[in-house]
Amino acid sequence: MTPQPGTKAGPPPLSRVAPAAARINFADPVVLVYLALVAVYLIGWTIVGLRGGDFVTVANTVTILQNSAALGLVAIGQTYAILAGSLDLSVAYLISLVTLITAQVMESAGIVAGVAAALLLAGLVGLGNGLIVTKLKVNAFIATLGVALILRGYLENTYTGPAGDVPTEFQRLGYDRIGPLPVSVFLVAAVATLTWFVLRRTSLGHHIYAVGGDREIARLSGVRTDRTVITAHVLCSLCAGLAGVFLASRLGAGAPLAGTDGQYDLVSIAAVVLGGSLLAGGRGGVVGTIGGVLILSVLDNVFDQLGVDPFFKNVVRGAVIIAAVALYARQSVARRRRQDQRRSG
């Protein structure tokens, strides 16, 4: 805010006296995510509209939400891991395995047992990830990649194709609606709300941010850092497990390629970063993540409507991820520069 040359010091510009609550902080990544989401939505609407398609209809909105459910669940989980300064590359194979376990257990022992087995498996994998990262001090990238390889070997050795059968009642989770909204939307919303609560209102959440910000300082301040990271990994895997359960209900059976075909490992990380969370941990949140997921699924929907080649979708998706993150990065670089200037006077 350099003073304009030639003008006397007058009253401050209006924006500076406006009450804080009424101002939108455009440097806040979460605000940017949702602005980007609105922009993507409007552009998509325009393009699809020009081609004579329907975009803003209940049916299409439901489709967008329905298709973002699985990625949404994984990305919410990934948010825990990334905020804690870790990440999880094993989610894709875990999801595949969970769909199979869910379907097989449900086939023989019923719905409750199926879900329980799925979540138990997911929790154990998360525990494994967390223990390897903290106790064996293996970098999270390598640790979860190694766990991914282990799961992959088991999958490829055990299953050759779809297996198990999901009872029709449970497939309702994937297809039923409450009012106009699919059940999956409520599931994602519930998990997201719970996550928001955990991250913002519980000591576990505060510890996750602290550990992700600076593990050593958190440790010196009395946070049980290992336990926090392990818990973050367990929660991450549980969310991936929920995604697997949901996909099993959508597909009606277990599918060995459900997770890897969706590239849930890398795309979920991209969605979290797209949502304004710092990849290095310590800053961000689940609200942004949901925005990031919605951006990706709105894009997907626009491409589907335009009949864009599915392979070409990946090209644009890659470009959008880079461009969007570049946008935030520029913002934060500019903010840091401003702070530095202020500090140095």
């Binding site: 070997g153 088991y154 490829e156 050795n157 970063v273 990946n314 470009a319 991820i321 670089v333």
Partner: protein, 338 residues
């Protein structure tokens, strides 16, 4: 107070043979794996089989060297696997369009294209301040998508025998010496010389502490871009070698980015950069390849192979981390006592 404490601990740490100690585990691992191989099948050490093994390992070792440059300067390059895929497919298409093209031209086109990808990766992650994980992940999606879009998953064309010579042929006059081994030797020597040069040392310093490096006059951005360009170049070269012995497929380089990163980490290079030697990174790649060979020899089925690989990678890195942290505790404890 902290201002005086920080440089002092840095100096203590640097006085330790840091790179040496961090890379010891990988050489032990490699030694153990090679020893086990000798017990499983002593014929492995017959010169022609050994050279054939090195020829097969060459692409991954070259990729690891390239990945090392990026990782030691504090980044990731997730796009190298897709660069390999694109390289194989593009080469085949090139020969499809111009069947009479001399093979060095095709190789040159690939190498330049690889450097181009690296340049873009580097510029995006430095100038636009995008984390390299995201930049190269996006690049990976773009390249994978582009190659599938272009070929619809079934690449056409062929690779001429001349072109394949580099990957699978022998040096004329020395029928026991594969070209790939020569290429590998040249790359390894160049990598070592580069890392011993001022530029190489500054690259490590940048990864260790880029702010400090910048304050001492290092052009941090330029160095990081250079690292990505070298990684792209290495990936393109690996693509030429891979093209020598695989079919033309849109999956030629699948998963190689993770193998390269694993190799570099096995070599004791800290994620986040600033520590570790390029020789150790290449030794990490050789260890991985030895492991794959060993698993095949032991008759571990293709599917279970990745499980065993996962366990061993975690175990190896864990062992490395344990020995490293024990060594690191020395300067830390002196700091705490002060």
């Amino acid at each position: 107070m902290t201002q005086t404490a920080v440089p002092e601990t840095r100096r203590t740490r640097l006085r330790l043979p840091a790179t040496l100690s961090a890379s010891t585990p990988v050489f032990v691992l490699l030694g153990v794996l090679l020893l086990v191989l000798a017990f499983v099948d002593i014929g492995f050490y017959e010169p022609d089989r050994l050279l054939a093994f090195i020829r097969r390992a060459a692409p991954l070792i070259i990729l690891a060297a390239g990945q090392y440059f990026v990782m030691v300067s504090g980044g990731f390059d997730l796009s190298v696997g897709s660069v390999v895929t694109v390289g194989v497919v593009v080469a085949a298409e090139l020969f499809n369009i111009a069947p009479d093209m001399p093979w060095p031209v095709a190789v040159l086109i690939l190498l330049v294209a690889g450097m181009g990808v690296g340049l873009i990766n580097g510029l995006i992650s430095t100038l636009l301040a995008v984390p390299s994980f995201i930049t190269t992940l996006g690049m990976m999606l773009i390249l994978q998508g582009a190659v599938f879009f272009w070929t619809q998953g079934a690449p056409r064309g062929y690779l001429s025998d001349d072109y394949r010579t580099l990957g699978r042929g022998m040096v004329p006059g020395l029928p026991w010496l594969p070209w790939a081994v020569i290429v590998l030797a040249v790359v390894a020597a160049a990598a070592v010389v580069f890392m011993r040069s001022d530029t190489g040392r500054t690259l490590v310093a940048t990864g260790d502490n880029d702010a400090a490096a910048a304050l001492s006059g290092v052009r941090v951005h330029r160095l990081r871009v250079l690292a990505f360009v070298l990684s792209g170049l290495a990936a393109a070269l690996a693509a030429v070698l891979v093209g020598g012995f695989t079919g033309i497929s849109a999956q030629a380089g699948d998963g190689m980015e993770f193998e390269a990163i694993t190799a570099v980490v096995l070599g004791g290079v800290a994620l986040g950069g600033g520590r570790g030697s390029v020789v150790a990174a290449m030794a990490g790649a050789l260890s991985l390849q030895t492991l794959f060979t060993l698993l095949t020899m032991l008759g571990v089925s293709g599917a279970l192979e990745s499980t065993v690989q996962g366990v061993i990678v975690i175990a190896a890195v864990a062992l490395g981390a344990v020995s490293w942290s024990r060594r690191q505790r020395v300067p830390n404890s002196t700091k705490e006592r002060r």
